[in-house]
Symmetry: C2
Subunit: 200 residues, 2 copies
């Protein structure tokens, strides 16, 4: 059985959202599973001395135009949310909690969270909004919100983010396939070749 | 007659080199010409608060791996040069001088310069090496080296770099097509669609 694709993402990353809408179909075509792994770009950016894309002069303006054009290119619905970027630590903790209690639900929650933010402009950093989205994904919001306030989930996320950075994750989406790192949805053509033919 | 593609590049940019080896074929397939326009990434990075990719922790290591993998993916010969990055102001000035005296030679010189650096590891920031490469491209090296030492060429390059930054160029390769900006060789699929179907 081939290794799953590790898909590192942050709920506030537009390019990760776009990639999240296509990665499972690409993986399935090549007999691979996808493992959604939360990271926190704020932490990764501190480790690598970067800052949020939209705050970089010139590049920030380009990126807003590019997000929307990439979405049209990929055929994925997208509306730039405001406020942006947002803190995503609570949403990431929900993923970590699901790893422990119901991993099969993770994709549903990832897609629900991303679409809430990048299609409907719902602010996932607001705990009330987050609880609603959790519930809409068919997950017990009361249990989720209690769990993410506890030390075990917080510690587990912190450890996972550190582990990701130790693996070289400096941005998102970041896909690790058979130990090979691919950064950005624009590496999909290379990923397709890798999955079809192996290392090149 | 459709507008030419403005291809902004820096001789020290690996991704620009890779793109330079493919852009003319893409453009020709859609009845477009390519206008090679030098920029200086050092100046663009100062304007946008960025620094050389290979100096960013984590991202730098990834990028070195990615340069080589992208080259294999595109089927373009590539060897990471050392030293890297290098100053490219003199090489850029040669392009500006050619704009004035023999624009038809620009593509030959761009390809010769890029291959010298990214295939053969020849340091284009060394004036003796630059003169050799100019000569090998069938251009009068004596005339070129005299011209790039003069104020008219220096001023023209400075003005062009400022103009590029004013147009939003913050990195390279940066392609402007019908006023639409595309950053990176990984936007080739979108460029292909734009050229085939128009705005999307």
């Amino acid at each position: 059985m081939p290794q799953p694709i590790d898909f590192y993402f942050d709920f506030s990353s537009p390019y990760s959202y776009l990639a999240s809408e296509r990665i499972e179909e690409i993986a399935a075509r090549h007999g691979r599973a996808v493992r959604f792994r939360p990271v926190l770009l704020g932490v990764a950016f501190r480790a690598s001395g970067q800052r949020p894309l939209t705050e970089v002069p010139l590049k920030g303006e380009y990126s807003r135009r590019d997000f929307a054009r990439c979405a049209r290119f990929l055929g994925v619905p997208f509306r730039m949310p405001d406020p942006f970027p947002i803190g995503t630590v609570d949403a990431a903790r929900v993923v970590v909690w699901l790893q422990q209690v119901d991993p099969a639900r993770i994709p549903d929650f990832v897609h629900a969270g991303y679409r809430a933010f990048f299609v409907h402009g719902r602010n996932l950093s607001d705990r009330a909004v987050l609880a609603e989205v959790v519930q809409e994904a068919g997950i017990d919001a009361g249990a989720a919100m209690a769990a993410i306030a506890g030390a075990p989930v917080k510690d587990a996320l912190r450890a996972q983010v550190e582990q990701a950075i130790a693996r070289g994750v400096f941005g998102a989406p970041f896909m690790m396939i058979d130990g090979e790192p691919f950064w950005g949805h624009d590496r999909f053509p290379q990923i397709e070749r890798w999955l079809a033919q192996g290392p090149f």
